[in-house]
């Protein structure tokens, strides 16, 4: 698996400033509602946890992922199977447009999961796991898991999708975010399940 940082992510990190995106674009809307919607849902609210919800996701993050799919720096199994093909012919303008489209959709409200998992997950989300070198997720992802700039919204996401990404970060099957590999390196699967359930429920 390649471990290069995606071009978009690198740029975003370097610039650290809000980027203007062209949102009113018929062609983008058609693409989103006719092609992307097949898996990601009409307004970015996907039905199956196999496909992440995109509604209200951070535009910079979506852009970084689409660039990562296009240049194949993000190569987890579902990315390879679906998104490498989907993104291979997207130009930069279309990527920016899709990112802006989904960022503008109303985010889905999370629903509470198992009580015990939620309690454990809240503790990890807010305080981290100091013994395992895991920082508090809230420090980057925000107190309400809403994300910021190139750091993704987790609130309202499918819990199973979040847990899967954490596992992929740990195993390096997903290699386009080295910081997440460092974060998850010493996590157990139960801890991933707990924090994923909590973050998604926000």
């Amino acid at each position: 698996m390649r471990h290069r940082i995606g071009i978009g992510l690198g740029l975003a990190l370097a610039l650290g400033a809000p980027i203007a995106y062209p949102a009113e674009d018929q062609q983008i809307q058609r693409l989103a509602t006719q092609t992307c919607a097949t898996c990601h849902g009409r307004n970015g609210d996907s039905i199956s946890p196999a496909f992440p919800r995109l509604a209200g996701q951070q535009a910079q993050y979506i852009e970084a992922q689409l660039v990562g799919f296009r240049d194949r720096s993000r190569g987890d199994p579902a990315a390879m199977a679906y998104m490498w093909g989907m993104a291979s012919q997207l130009d930069d303008r279309t990527i920016k447009g899709l990112a802006a489209y989904y960022a503008a959709q109303r985010p889905v409200h999370g629903t509470p999961g198992d009580k015990a998992l939620m309690a454990r997950g809240k503790a990890i989300y807010e305080q981290g796991l100091p013994d395992a070198g895991v920082p508090a997720c809230a420090a980057c992802h925000g107190a309400a898991a809403e994300g910021k700039e190139n750091i993704p919204r987790l609130a309202g996401q499918h819990p199973a999708y979040l847990v899967k990404q954490l596992a992929y970060f740990q195993s390096m099957l997903r290699g386009n975010a080295p910081i997440m590999h460092a974060v998850t390196d010493k996590m157990t699967f139960e801890q991933m399940e707990a924090v994923g359930t909590y973050a998604a429920s926000q």
Partner: protein, 450 residues
Amino acid sequence: MQLLQARGVCATLVAAVVAAIMLAGSTKALAVPSFARQTGMACEACHTVFPELTPFGRAFKMNGYLIDNLPQVKEVTADQKEALLLNWLPPLSVQFIASYTQLKTALPDTSGGTGTPTGNGTTQFPEAFSFFYAGRIAPKLGGFIQVTWANDSDSFSWDNTDIRFADQTTLGKDTLTWGVTFNNSPTVQDPWNSTPAWKYPFSQTSSLAPSSVASTQLDSLGNNTVAGLSAYGYWNNLVYVELGGYTAAPHLTTPSQGVENVHGGAPYGRIAVQPQWGRHSLEFGVLGFSDNATPAGSLNSTPTDQYRDIAFDAEYQFLGDDNIVSAELTYIHENQTLNATAPSAASNTLNTFRLGGSYFYQRQWGGSIGYFSTTGNTNPALYVPLGSANGSPDTSGWAFELDYLPWQNVKLALQYTLYTKFNGAGTNYDGTGRNASSNNTLYLFAWLAF
């Protein structure tokens, strides 16, 4: 624009196109790496385990096989309309099926020559080989076109073909995918695998297995006898409606004994609903098909055989990260008025029921179980000449299959079909002492798609 390269597979396939086209049996096998080449997506995006489709695969089909991520040869008119959109690399693929078939008691050889009973440990290498062009043809026009060489006829024949125009619009607040399909067998164009053209989970069965005396029109109208046109719509990822018709399109060879030709128009209609929740999808629907047929070689003024089919089908799928479960149900009820073939006993019914389920672990290991049953009224005038000693067409049994897929496009399978009844009886169904269980079939096959 970067060139798309299918993983590990050099895209320099050159299709040596069809040698000869003759009337012959068709294979129902249909996995198409052409689509993988065109879309850049792995098999698992559209298939659970080929040939079964996922909801995304069904959407791809309903949208005209058009999603592509290949560089295109393009042209636009002066007012910006697309005039040409050809994949730079043709979406071609092939399929190779080799097999070993062993009937419990081999059928006597009827070729009058070799004296080797068929199905007595017969290896077919290959049993079938297909060429596919599957993908975009023009803006908004795509096709699934298959040509197959079959071992049992030693010839190429035209196989499953579905060419369709598709587009999307909005109906109310929701998306409507709509289109027109031009195809050569009722339900080959259908998105669900519970329909007769697909017969999932047992899409692939041995060409040497014996056929029972009767099957419904929906089950038996093959790829070389009719052509059909229908319009369809799929609304809000939930409701599917299709309406159209078929007419005779036999190949221009000398008609053989016993072949019937569809006479005039044969209407076809289909409604299905597919709710989805979490990782589950459940489709249930109704199909209707009706045709008049005349025996080959007869004049247009002769009486016709009338067939009226109505079918119910359902398909359930659970698509987990590691575990995939699916189940299919088909029930076809047919009314026949055979004024041409059996005027003394013209009014008949035939019912076919199939229920099957599959499980796969990580798309590598799995299997299927199925139950099948065809029942109909006893009609000695109709069925005795075809091989049923007591004049009943009833045939039923179970099928089992174990599958191993070392890679997504290679399936190794062990299949066993067990008959509890065949052509009307469990024992001595043909009057010469052959039992239903004599036809039990062990079928080992390797199915490669690339």
